[in-house]
């Protein structure tokens, strides 16, 4: 598949999830139980991007020792928990990462 076809398909599927909710989905179609489970979608899917990017090296092997990303992500998570700020979380993580690789 060409890059453009891939982009267009991803765009179509993204658009359809948005359109279906406005045009097709009625409130009655979701009972509270389904709604409750769907509210966990971000918690269920985002870690699949977060964890491998932190714990795996470029070749895809698990890297625990000498891995500044783990400490930086922990600091970012702690800052996030206390500040509840998206921007503070991102920048504290990047700042600690740079501190660990350039200064320490």
């Amino acid at each position: 598949m060409s890059n453009w076809a891939l982009i267009i398909y991803c765009g179509v599927i993204t658009y359809l999830t948005r359109f279906s909710m406005i045009a097709l989905i009625k409130k009655e179609m979701f009972n509270n139980r389904i709604r409750q489970v769907l509210s966990y979608v971000p918690s269920a899917i985002f870690p699949a991007i977060i964890f491998p990017a932190i714990f795996l090296d470029d070749s895809g092997s698990i890297l625990i020792e000498n891995n500044p990303k783990i400490m930086a992500a922990l600091i970012a998570a702690l800052i996030g928990i206390f500040s509840r700020s998206i921007i503070a979380t991102i920048f504290s993580g990047l700042a600690s990462y740079w501190f660990l690789i350039f200064v320490v």
Partner: protein, 231 residues
């Protein structure tokens, strides 16, 4: 009833604070997209056609990992399934609209616009209240397109040594800050993260994101049921 323009402007003003984190997100996307091998035109096309931060980053991440198109597209679908939840909430406010407006608004319905306009829609019963959503969505659109463009240009100037790709997990981590305080969410996060990390090399077709997501949801189903029983 306020004029359409006033409601539209109110949408712009209300959504503005939420735009601050979108700026680095868009820049990072632009930089990374060039980095993993998309052309500037394709990168811009992605932001115009897909117009969704999480979708686009997942696309890049799996593309650079060598996943097949089918896996990339279904993973993007999985990431977007959260939009179905918004549907249950927002659709009742928009049910009287003409189809053409539904088609237009759907394009602009991203997390930030949804979050902010849902509050407005709940409190307001004016016929033209959906202009708030259009204003909020259009603001996100302008920010997203311009930061993508800046990222493409800056990309070449940013040294690889900075490890800017680390900003991707950080951005997603940041989107979960409110979930870290909830017990069930934390368990779901850890389960999904472990499955993805340990399964990265073993789950075929790079479908680890889908497998991990489904495992996480299953954990959520079991946990919410158990917790309810104990209450």
């Amino acid at each position: 009833m306020k004029s359409n323009l006033k409601v539209f402007l109110k949408g712009i003003i209300d959504v503005s604070p939420l735009m601050i984190p979108v700026i680095p997100f868009g820049l990072i996307f632009g930089v990374l997209s060039i980095d993993v091998g998309f052309s500037p035109l394709e990168t811009m096309g992605m932001s115009l056609i897909v117009f969704g931060g999480a979708s686009q980053i997942v696309l890049l991440q799996l593309f650079s990992g060598g996943a097949s198109s089918l896996v990339i597209i279904s993973s993007v679908g999985a990431v977007n399934s959260r939009h179905l939840l918004y549907g249950a909430v927002v659709s009742e406010h928009l049910s009287d609209l003409k189809l053409i407006w539904k088609i237009i608004i759907s394009y602009f319905l991203i997390d930030q616009a949804y979050a902010i306009s849902n509050e407005y829609l709940k409190k307001n019963k004016d016929q033209n209240r959906y202009f708030h959503l259009v204003g909020a969505g259009a603001t996100c659109w302008v920010i997203w397109q311009s930061t993508t463009f800046l990222g493409i240009i800056l990309g070449a100037a940013i040294p690889e040594k900075l490890g800017l790709s680390f900003a991707v997990p950080l951005t997603f981590l940041a989107l979960l800050v409110n979930d870290f305080r909830k017990f069930i969410n934390v368990i779901v996060i850890v389960v999904s993260g472990l499955v993805a990390t340990l399964g990265y090399n073993y789950i075929p077709f790079k479908a680890y994101a889908i497998v991990a997501g489904l495992t996480g949801l299953l954990a959520a189903m079991i946990l919410t049921r158990t917790v309810k029983k104990n209450e």
